[in-house]
Symmetry: C2
Subunit: 111 residues, 2 copies
DNA sequence: TAATGATATTGCAATATTACGATAGTCTAG
DNA sequence: CTAGACTATCGTAATATTGCAATATCATTA
């Protein structure tokens, strides 16, 4: 009924799902890529950069902050956002842990 | 209004968002991990493995198939699913492309 | 052929996500 | 202090996702 049954799955599986949501919307991917490029930015820049309303971007930023992949500091009347290095590495290694698990079977592909 | 404005974003950004959705639900993560372990499996196994209804699992499998990350072959009355190696590498390198873009700035962290 | 087993599809119901206007709060100029 | 700039939050509308029972398919087996 629209409710994800998180209790059926392991902690790791739920964590990966949460982390993946950071990348599961093109606007958030765009925000992350922009942060990677500029290595710090402000919300206002993003309103120019992406074509979305200020409220929408603010909402995506909050989601990314909740996931922990970005962090923000208030700078006067502005807010500077950047990648959270600790969390970034954490998520990166969670994904690499999965990606590196796959080896093409020697006996050719199964199906 | 609930509609993602895909036209605002680049192809790559949209592609990453689609790929990320494969991992954005714990059930799909669990399915992928199970496929990684068993290196081929059948739908029925998954109904035992996860606690979800058959219809629900079939739906997740279809989504993963649409994303291309898994593939299935009909084997009599059963279906064998496995990782799609080509697509797997594709998605893996898209994510690595992002993950490796981040370097902790020498001047310490910005915010 | 009929019954069985394995999957897929359909048709809801419930919740989640996306988007934005309006509004509120918080600085910084002036 | 006041006006303007920048962000966050609220309320709401529209669409998407999740989950499952019921049903449909299709191959196998009796």
């Amino acid at each position: 009924m629209g409710v994800t049954k998180t209790d059926l799955f392991s902690d790791v599986q739920n964590e990966i799902a949460v982390a993946a949501k950071a990348f599961a919307h093109p606007a958030r991917v765009a925000i992350i890529q922009y942060l990677l490029k500029s290595n710090a930015c402000i919300n206002g820049d993003l309103v120019q950069e992406l074509g979305l309303a200020q409220a929408t971007i603010s909402q995506h930023l909050r989601e990314l902050k909740e996931i922990g992949i970005i962090q923000g500091t208030i700078e006067g009347s502005r807010v500077s956002y950047c990648i959270n290095p600790i969390r970034w590495e954490e998520i990166k290694s969670q994904f690499n842990g999965i990606f590196n698990q796959f080896k093409v079977p020697e006996s050719g592909n199964c199906c």
